[in-house]
Symmetry: D2
Subunit: 325 residues, 4 copies
Amino acid sequence: MLEKYSVRTDLALEEKERFESDNVEISGVVLEEEYDKEREIRITRVKVETENGAKTMGKPVGVYLTMEAPNMAVPDEDYHREVSVKLSGYIQELIEGRSLDTDDLSVLVVGLGNRQVTPDALGPYVADNLCVTRHIVKEYGKYAMGMEHARLVSAIVPGVMGQTGMETLEIVKGVVEETKPDLVIAIDALAARNTRRLNRTIQIADTGIHPGSGVGNHRNGLTKESVGVPVIGIGVPTVVDAATIANDTMENLIDALESSDILKGVGDVLRTYNSAEKYELVKELISPHLNGMFVTPKDEDELVKQISYTISEALNMLFTNKEEG
Amino acid sequence: MLEKYSVRTDLALEEKERFESDNVEISGVVLEEEYDKEREIRITRVKVETENGAKTMGKPVGVYLTMEAPNMAVPDEDYHREVSVKLSGYIQELIEGRSLDTDDLSVLVVGLGNRQVTPDALGPYVADNLCVTRHIVKEYGKYAMGMEHARLVSAIVPGVMGQTGMETLEIVKGVVEETKPDLVIAIDALAARNTRRLNRTIQIADTGIHPGSGVGNHRNGLTKESVGVPVIGIGVPTVVDAATIANDTMENLIDALESSDILKGVGDVLRTYNSAEKYELVKELISPHLNGMFVTPKDEDELVKQISYTISEALNMLFTNKEEG
Amino acid sequence: MLEKYSVRTDLALEEKERFESDNVEISGVVLEEEYDKEREIRITRVKVETENGAKTMGKPVGVYLTMEAPNMAVPDEDYHREVSVKLSGYIQELIEGRSLDTDDLSVLVVGLGNRQVTPDALGPYVADNLCVTRHIVKEYGKYAMGMEHARLVSAIVPGVMGQTGMETLEIVKGVVEETKPDLVIAIDALAARNTRRLNRTIQIADTGIHPGSGVGNHRNGLTKESVGVPVIGIGVPTVVDAATIANDTMENLIDALESSDILKGVGDVLRTYNSAEKYELVKELISPHLNGMFVTPKDEDELVKQISYTISEALNMLFTNKEEG
Amino acid sequence: MLEKYSVRTDLALEEKERFESDNVEISGVVLEEEYDKEREIRITRVKVETENGAKTMGKPVGVYLTMEAPNMAVPDEDYHREVSVKLSGYIQELIEGRSLDTDDLSVLVVGLGNRQVTPDALGPYVADNLCVTRHIVKEYGKYAMGMEHARLVSAIVPGVMGQTGMETLEIVKGVVEETKPDLVIAIDALAARNTRRLNRTIQIADTGIHPGSGVGNHRNGLTKESVGVPVIGIGVPTVVDAATIANDTMENLIDALESSDILKGVGDVLRTYNSAEKYELVKELISPHLNGMFVTPKDEDELVKQISYTISEALNMLFTNKEEG
């Protein structure tokens, strides 16, 4: 409704929904959905196919896969293993879509974010549980790993600019130039619009990581163009901006007023006002004190550990055929 | 305005404000204010003097001191030391108000909350930095501490019910009966209504800790009645319930509609509806997905460490005349 | 050889070995051994049956079970699960030996030690992963847990005296009196004599925890006599005192000198001196700078997490028939 | 005495002592000592001036400054501040010795080691408390920092090879090439020979970090040659190899035997054997189970935090004229 008021989301899925709620078809953007009924996992593929579609969506041309699984927030090891298996397949799909051979690959995993800020620690946690192999294969050959194929996995936790004084891009670029992986996989905590998606949604994109993404704000994206090799971004929404809650609440209220049984007359009046006027109203009312405020579940510490483990296991399955203990 | 819709706050100050905004004088409740201009510290004393006042406020009879210092969120060691000095004085005031002699006191500090949930870790962090002396004085006498007076400080971090399977009260009561302190000081992270107060407000109350207080929910209070010795509660708001943000936003919007230049007619309609009708509307619109969601600043990990240190230093100054390294 | 020089060990097994190496039969002490060849787990039961045996061993009358499994230091989840199953059986054996009914039991698990000192964090880590049920059963009845029998599990991490100013015994006694469990299970990190045993040996004793046990030094034991209910102690050696290394090395050297091919004459001389003279020599040479120094493996942080998980799973299997995620 | 048995030390000071104890003058190596009586700080400058000296010492040509201050293990904030001031001066001395201008410098601080292994976490901890400025100066100019001179401080915690699959050198080299600092300062936890030096000795060397240095083993050094810009290494011994304790104890015993009153005859025999024979004896007796074992103080967690803070403050004083809160 208030399409001019841009609420922050890093999920392509939510970007797409924003338009759907207005019944708008976006040219150059294709949406596909699957549903695994047994496991209650919904997969959405948003394919941004043209520059036009990219412009409308505010996301570059590429494939955005989203897995939504409400039970990801439940500490059930067996279920998480199944999610890891599925996730591992989708990552492979995107890698092969980039004409890379998963069987003979050198990959650098980048754990973005700040280990010391709970909802931003996803990337570092994934790196912590990753089974790195590059140094072993380099030293002893691929047979040392009991692998037929030589997949070299390395990992780095670059830290955030306030800790390093450097752009994440500078660090990643330097390491890529020195160690020459075929592919970068970057893991990041995201901001969503909807609290229902927190810690139970995984987005995989073959377009990398973009400015403004993530819980911390990256000023420069990690993309094939900036880094020099293809970049797959894996993200999990762990926070909603507090301003989003305020915005959504107001939208709900205005919707309700427009169709209210209780306050019917209000709706009649509101309907006479246009989007721009409503937007002005909302903007004015969102408290400036909500700046820098996050909405996050009480047990975020536990949830972010759990989902980071599910992701690192997916990567371990894909690249080393084994899970970390 | 929507006085029937009870938004959660653990601050007596905010409870009082709720009424003021409706221009209601509360009988049995006295409010005093001081302002330290140089240090920008505002002190508010809410004295609930009668059972009637207690009923209206939803807080037991007693003294509630609040220190608000916007700069507490800034990592300035010297400033925090000054806050510690002031805080230490106010704690002493409440102790002496309970006819206890600070110079000859055995005190048990209870660090409430969950060490593994960032905004709930305040209590455990305060206990971590506390200078405990009880075991030394017991073993070597008070002169071992270089103290003229025998102040015995002990501390416990009882954990939360989901970790222990026990009520916090059961643990504290058991320890009090076994070690017989004169006084319990319980530290807890609180929920506030207003994000501006987060991590920059300290409440000290001579009435202890009450059910529903804190980031975690205590089912039983820690009070003189339940514990057996006087209990002073020290709390810092570290979160706002996400539902509060939604509620506030709606109240703002309704206020705005009632007086709006843009949408004047809406206000005219709204004014014809009563509180109960408005309350129904708000209740209906607050998303159930906000349950269990917190609003907290991005750098909460840092902020809670900082303010917990300020509190532990105040206690160290008061009881051991020395600061922990 | 140097039986007068008392090297510190908390393992009954090592205490027993000390005598065996001198070919001494201890009256009142019975030793039984089993070996699970497939899983490479050695079980030793030291039964101290008389006060005389207790005096010689320096350990109270009771049963001391030791599981030694070299592979416990390997991060193999399946293997650790098998160890948990076995361990759970041995704990049950000791509980039933105390005439308690595992099916209808209220148990308080005490995680001894200091969370902030890596090799001393075993107890707190076990408590962290424990599935506590007491509060649920109390609130909703035993059927809420899907259990036929009402086993109430509670847990506490009392901290160490330097943090609390209180004896661990005071805290545990207070909590026991308030919550009235049938049994206390206390988990503690131990000191061993032999680095080979570190993080791969679990001792279970039905006599509780004794003064001088553990990485930190408890001044008062946790026993049926002091606590009021039976206490089962579970311990894992995580350190060797540095002085022990020095002592062992010297013993090795003296042994070697006595039988040396290279330095044969030295042995001839040494053999003319008695135990007391040799002991004086060793005592003099152990550097005072080794006081308070520990020998511990480089990857102790990882190892202590791993074995603590194995123990908490054993307890979860035994008391809640389910494993924590 | 047993000069063939090479006990591991990363301290040039201890390397030098090894020879002194044999009353050997090393050509090409100059030793200077200062003593600050009031603060009980001993400064030793070992200057390795020739390739010959380097060969004998097993350390490259360069200056090695060592500060020994027994009280560094005491948590006295004021004392640590004085140590920081002194340390900051010595770092400046080495920087200027490399013809760099401290007033106009771009420096990359590298926190070597493993954050998850307590005695190896020194480097990461120093980086955590560092005041980085590069991104601010780059964005807003040097006046944004209130600095007359433009000192750009950046920092990285590269992790260890088992975590990253990459040589530390590869990561540092990549980052240096991308961000072009004038100087690298690398912080590392060291192994010493003598437990008395643990956590109370700081070594600064203008030759960087060398293979085999540190608690973890670096396979490639960080030096001007390998990194491309001058490298200053700052190290603190936090562990002694357990084998060193065993070795020292045996040396003590053999010394004692050679001069013993009690066992005089033994000495007479031992004196007839040569170094090589004694070395064989020692080597044989050191238990293989000591491999990978460290000797470290019980309160290492606390001590390493404390000294890392002292080092980060020295760097903050030197480069930003301010201390971190």
